[in-house]
Symmetry: C2
Subunit: 331 residues, 2 copies
C-alpha cells in the first residue's frame, strides 16, 4: 500500500509538506500543492486509518456533487437526498459539475475549503488529483449512481444490467430486430454498464448486431442528437431507438423528427433508460426504465450518515421497474 | 429608519447581544438569538452602512438558493449562474428550498455558518427572521426572478407583465374567449404578478371574466392538477388553458387527460408561462412564453459581482419571447 512517505518522495517535498497538503491545510505553496496532489493521484494514495480519523469539527452540512443539475434524474435525486438529510439533521449544499471533470475538481476544491461533514458524489470519470486529495483527507464519501473503479467508497446506484434487460425483453416482445442504440460516454460507469449490458444481450433477444446501429453521445440532448444523425446517415434501417438516459432520448427524438419529419418519426418506437415527465405525452408515447432517483438519493444519504457515525456502509444497487406505454397488441 | 438600538430594546437584550446576534456570532444563547431575530424581522431592521462594511474574508464562493431545483426554469438558471460565476473566478454552492419557507430559512442559516461572499436568492414569500439576520449581516445579496416587497436588493427577473401580454394576444388571435387560468401562489411575486397582469388584461383581449375559470396551485405539478380538477368540476366550459409556470402546465395537462380522456383533452389548446423541452412533442403542441432563465442567471451573477466590487447594481427585468406552436390557420 502506498504511504504518505511514498507520496512525499515522488513529489520531492518533505513529509511535513505532503502531510499539510493532504490534510487540506492552506499553509502550503501552490507549487508543492500541485506536486503532492499529482503524486498522490499517480500512486493511488488513499489515506489510512489514522489520517481518516483526522476529523474536522462538525458542521451538519453535507456536500452533494452531481453530474448535471439539468438532468431530471439528478435534480430528483438531489431533492430526495436533501429531504432525507433533513431527517438526520443535515443540510445539503449542491454543486453541479455539468458533465465536466475540470468543473467537478473546482467543486471538490470548494468543498475542501468550505467545511462539510461528508460528500455525496456522482463522478465524471477517473481519479483526478483533486479527488485523490479529497480521498486522502479522509472526508467520508459515498458515490451516487456512478463510481470510479478502484476507489474504495460505497456506491448507491441503479442496477443498470437489470434495467437494460427490461428494455431488451420489451424490444423482443414488440418484435423489433433493427434497433438504433444511442449510448452515453464509456468513461462514465453508467454509460459503460448500460452499453455493455445491451451489447451482451442483443443476440439472446434476437436483436441485430449491425455495428452501424450503435453510436454514443454525451448524456446531454445535443450530443445525443448528433449521434442519432450519424446513425441515420449510415443508412442501416431501424424500427426502434433505445436512448441510454433521459436527455439522450430527448436528443434522439428531436433528431428523428428533424431528419425524418414528424410522420415518419412517429413510426419509430422509442424506449428510454430514465422515465421523464413528458414521455406519456409523446406520439407514440415513450416506454421507459424507471430509474429510482429518489430511492438512490435517500439510500446514499443513509449510507453517508452511517459512515459519519462510524458504522459500515456497503452500498446498494437499486432495481428498476419498466413503464410500458406501447399501444396494445402486436406492432 | 430602524436602528440596532430599536432591535435590542424590542428584544429586551443589551446592545452588545443584539450586535453579536446580527453579525452572526455564535457566542449568543439560542434564546437571545431567536428574540433578536424576531425583533429585527418585526421592525424590518436592515443593516446600515457601517454594519455592511463588516466584510468577512473572501472565499470566492457564492451561494445560490433556488425555490425548486426540479423546476427546469431554476435548474437552467442555476447552470447559467454557475458558468457565469466561473468566468469571474467564483464557484457557486446551490441550495434548494423546495418551495418551502422553513427550508429556505434552514439554508440561509447554513450559508451564514459556511463562508460565502454573496448570495443569489429566489425567495418564497416574506421576510423571515433568518432572512432579516442575513440582510442585517451585510452579506451582499441579489434576488433572482422573485423578490420580497420592501427589501432593498436588486432583482434580476422576468418581465412578467410583458410575458402575460404575449399570452393574451395569442389567445385573442386564436379566437379563445373561455380560458381556464391556473396560477401560482399569490405569496410568490411571480405568481402575483402573472395573475395580476392576466386579470387586468382579460377585457382588453376579449377574454371571459368568469371567476369559475380561475384557480391556483403551488407552482408544482401536483397542486396545479388539483386546481385544474376544481376548474373542470365547476362546470364552466373552456377552450384553452393558461398555466402560469412550466410545472403548472404539466399538472394541468395531466389533469385534463385524466379527467377528459386523451381525445377530448387534445381539443383544448394549452399555453404556458415557461417553455419546456417537451412542449413541441405534445398533441397539440403547447405554445409558450420563453422565460430567459439563462440570461437571468448570468445577469444576477454580474449584479452580485458588481456589489462585491463595491459598484452599484440596479437589477433588470428581462423581456420574454413567445413560441407559437399552434397549427396554422384559424381554429
Amino acid at each position: 500500500m502506498t504511504t504518505i512517505k511514498d507520496v512525499a518522495a515522488r513529489a520531492g517535498v518533505s513529509l511535513g509538506t505532503a502531510s499539510r497538503v493532504l490534510s487540506g491545510s492552506s499553509q502550503t505553496s501552490a507549487d508543492s500543492r500541485s506536486r503532492v496532489l499529482a503524486a498522490a493521484a499517480e500512486l493511488g494514495y488513499i489515506a489510512n486509518g489514522p489520517a481518516r480519523s483526522l476529523r474536522r469539527s462538525r458542521t451538519d452540512v453535507l456536500g452533494l456533487l452531481v453530474s448535471d443539475i439539468r438532468n431530471p434524474f439528478f435534480s430528483e435525486l438531489a431533492h430526495a437526498a436533501e429531504q432525507e438529510a433533513r431527517h438526520h439533521g443535515y443540510t445539503v449544499l449542491l454543486a453541479n459539475a455539468n458533465e465536466d471533470a475540470e468543473q467537478a475538481d473546482a467543486y471538490l476544491r470548494t468543498f475542501a475549503s468550505q467545511r462539510i461533514d461528508g460528500l455525496l458524489f456522482s463522478p465524471q470519470g477517473t481519479v483526478s488529483p483533486q479527488l485523490a486529495a479529497t480521498l486522502a483527507s479522509g472526508l467520508p464519501l459515498v458515490f451516487l449512481n456512478r463510481m470510479i473503479e478502484g476507489v474504495d467508497a460505497p456506491l448507491y446506484g441503479t442496477d443498470n444490467a437489470q434495467g437494460v434487460e427490461h428494455v431488451l425483453a420489451w424490444l423482443r416482445q414488440r418484435g423489433h430486430r433493427d434497433v438504433a442504440f444511442i449510448g452515453g460516454p464509456d468513461t462514465i460507469s453508467t454509460g459503460a454498464e448500460r452499453r455493455a449490458a445491451y451489447l451482451a444481450g442483443r443476440e439472446k433477444y434476437g436483436i441485430s448486431t449491425d455495428e452501424r446501429l450503435l453510436d454514443a453521445g454525451d448524456f446531454l440532448a445535443g450530443g445525443a442528437a448528433e449521434a442519432m444523425y450519424r446513425v441515420i446517415d449510415r443508412g442501416a434501417p431501424f424500427t426502434a431507438v433505445f436512448g441510454a438516459n433521459g436527455l439522450t432520448t430527448l436528443g434522439a427524438v428531436r433528431a428523428l423528427r428533424e431528419r425524418l419529419g414528424a410522420e415518419r418519426a412517429a413510426r419509430v418506437e422509442v424506449v428510454s433508460f430514465d422515465d421523464l415527465d413528458w414521455f406519456e405525452f409523446a406520439s407514440p408515447p415513450i416506454s421507459a426504465v424507471r430509474n429510482e432517483a429518489s430511492s438512490i438519493g435517500r439510500l446514499g444519504v443513509r449510507g453517508l450518515v452511517d459512515l459519519l457515525a462510524g458504522r459500515a456502509a456497503t452500498g446498494q444497487r437499486v432495481a428498476t421497474s419498466f413503464v410500458d406505454r406501447s399501444p396494445k397488441g402486436v406492432r
